[in-house]
Symmetry: C2
Subunit: 409 residues, 2 copies
Amino acid sequence: MSKRSPLAPARFPRLPEIDGVEIAAVAAGIKPGKQNDLFLAALSPGSAVAGLFTQSLTSSAAVEWSREVVEAGKTRAIIVNSGNANAFTGTAGVETVKGMAAVAARQVGCRSGEVLIASTGVIGEPLPLDQIFRAEEKLGDHLGSCSWKRAAEAISTTDTFPKGAFATCEIGGKRVRIAGIAKGSGMIAPDMATMLGFIFTDAQIPQQLLQLLLVRIAGRTFNSITVDGDTSTSDTLVLAATGRAGNTPPLSIKDSSLSPFVDALEQVARDLATQIVKDGEGATKFIMLEISGATSFQAARRVGLSIGNSPLVKTAIAGEDANWGRIVMAVGKAGERADRDQLEITIGGVAVVRAGERVIDYQEEPVAEHLKGQEIQIGVDLGVGRGSATVWTCDLTHGYISINADYRS
Amino acid sequence: MSKRSPLAPARFPRLPEIDGVEIAAVAAGIKPGKQNDLFLAALSPGSAVAGLFTQSLTSSAAVEWSREVVEAGKTRAIIVNSGNANAFTGTAGVETVKGMAAVAARQVGCRSGEVLIASTGVIGEPLPLDQIFRAEEKLGDHLGSCSWKRAAEAISTTDTFPKGAFATCEIGGKRVRIAGIAKGSGMIAPDMATMLGFIFTDAQIPQQLLQLLLVRIAGRTFNSITVDGDTSTSDTLVLAATGRAGNTPPLSIKDSSLSPFVDALEQVARDLATQIVKDGEGATKFIMLEISGATSFQAARRVGLSIGNSPLVKTAIAGEDANWGRIVMAVGKAGERADRDQLEITIGGVAVVRAGERVIDYQEEPVAEHLKGQEIQIGVDLGVGRGSATVWTCDLTHGYISINADYRS
């Protein structure tokens, strides 16, 4: 891993073990050196698994495979490699996917069709199956004795720190645990980017409800972050529930026993998603865009993403400049309803634009002070409705250019 | 003006005078120093004028005013200032627009409602009318004795070189001239960006037909360029036809006498539009994206813009890396139909991807050599239809970050 992002959390959190989940992470030689690059999770029989995949119309073979596995409704294993995305590798790529499924199936003791697969890394280069085969035994030996931190490292590529998060809550009086790992630092944009996320829980949740939950929570977390607006061919977010906590399964998303779990899950997902932003390539500032007064949540999120993807806004913040004109510009290009003459903008809580005009003599000093910090808050009220959303992004710096004009991903 | 772009043309072209057009450019003190920042064009009575404006939903007062003038169908003057966009300046901004119209009307001898207005520069700062008033007399004195180069300079902001283009052709045996000036270097994206363009001709074309022509040609030129995907609140493209050439007016866009004019106009518009890209902030390479095999022109253009707006593609080209994987990624996120397994990509004319896979042993040397040059050609065949489009963009470099993290626009 390269130099740790200045926005990285102090340390990897202490993720709990999840009953019914066994993990392994080994070095298969796909990434250079002896870095861990192959991850396997074995799920106990009867686990429910939900998945969300890239919206890219040129998605990878692994994504196509995994979509079908999730739809079939029975998943017993997840195998992930980093260092090579196995994308645009034609028929060889499809063979590699089959081979990876076979390896996982043998080690977990299930059918190939019960294995989810994700690959991330270089596009267009063949991923030699023999490397995976050679690592198979090590993978099996390792199963059940692996730390979450090591697992998070094994799924990482240009990440400068491993990403994990956890929460506990109760469902109908039963204690339930949630643990998740994620990776991603560039090519991050909504509807999944080069972003992998795997969240595990021992809660008992029926598969259909689990999928509904994942869609809802992803909209407010993983699909509300952006680093550079680019979308990868491999993005995958998986939520696996083993049911070992033994809670009474909730039957509907409206079931009141479910709400602490929804909150806890959203917290884990938000934590992972914002860690990805904090590892944004070249990022020196973490930006929280709070959009309100929109016609809907979707409209608010689109406006937030328009601001969060604007190179001019992101460079202004890198330059610690309260350039609200660029924020207004980005609101305008989002294509969502806004009232120019009702627009309100705050930076670090200080109103700089009110009723569509600069607040004469707004306090520049606290704003300047806020912009010197690492966590930047920008509020935008569109003045046309009650929809709101939060979008997270980072600044655009020389670091991004250096990483992406040199590193071949 | 700052350091000239390395992609700038050797010199400003020799634009012809256009019969029925008188221009002036003076220094009103809006830009620092004694830079020219106020431009006036007087059009002879009976001129037809077409206009296209920003799609931004937070457009400036000048844009709102000018839209109405074009719709009313009678334009006698165009007044433009640089250095201040007069955007988000509330009721004071509306007063400034009225004042500018009055100044132009007095000097040209027309009604205020016959004056088109454009402003470009800093957003959100008041544009003091008294500066415009003080410059009025100078403006009148200067009318008719101004060079196109000086006019192009007067409408510029962060541009590093003035932009002009011309062409001549015949309509039904009559010689016709076209001359245009433009400005723009950052915040350039389709559907107009901080982009101003003014094209003048002595051809006689009915207003409705002129508007139709402008829309068609803008789609293939000004709306097919991108620097950073950002869209300004002030973009304006105007086409004025004085009719002084005395040609028989064509009645329909299908009139065969019109086709040389359409070609010449497209040439001028493309020349101006690509000059804007060549002045892209921090640009060191000019990139031509030729998309074919799409379901339509619109689909091809959208794919081209998706590639042309991708920070990952643009940084790869800055790094002279034949990273076709990022091109494939950008095709995938465009949301247009493409066949992953039919995709073909060429760089500098050399096939690097065929049938969705890397061409094994493609000639890397000529590709590497091509990427070292200043003009980069990338061809993408989507393999699903017959639609094609060309999109122009530039690379994303440290220069862009330096300009936009420091300059307050």
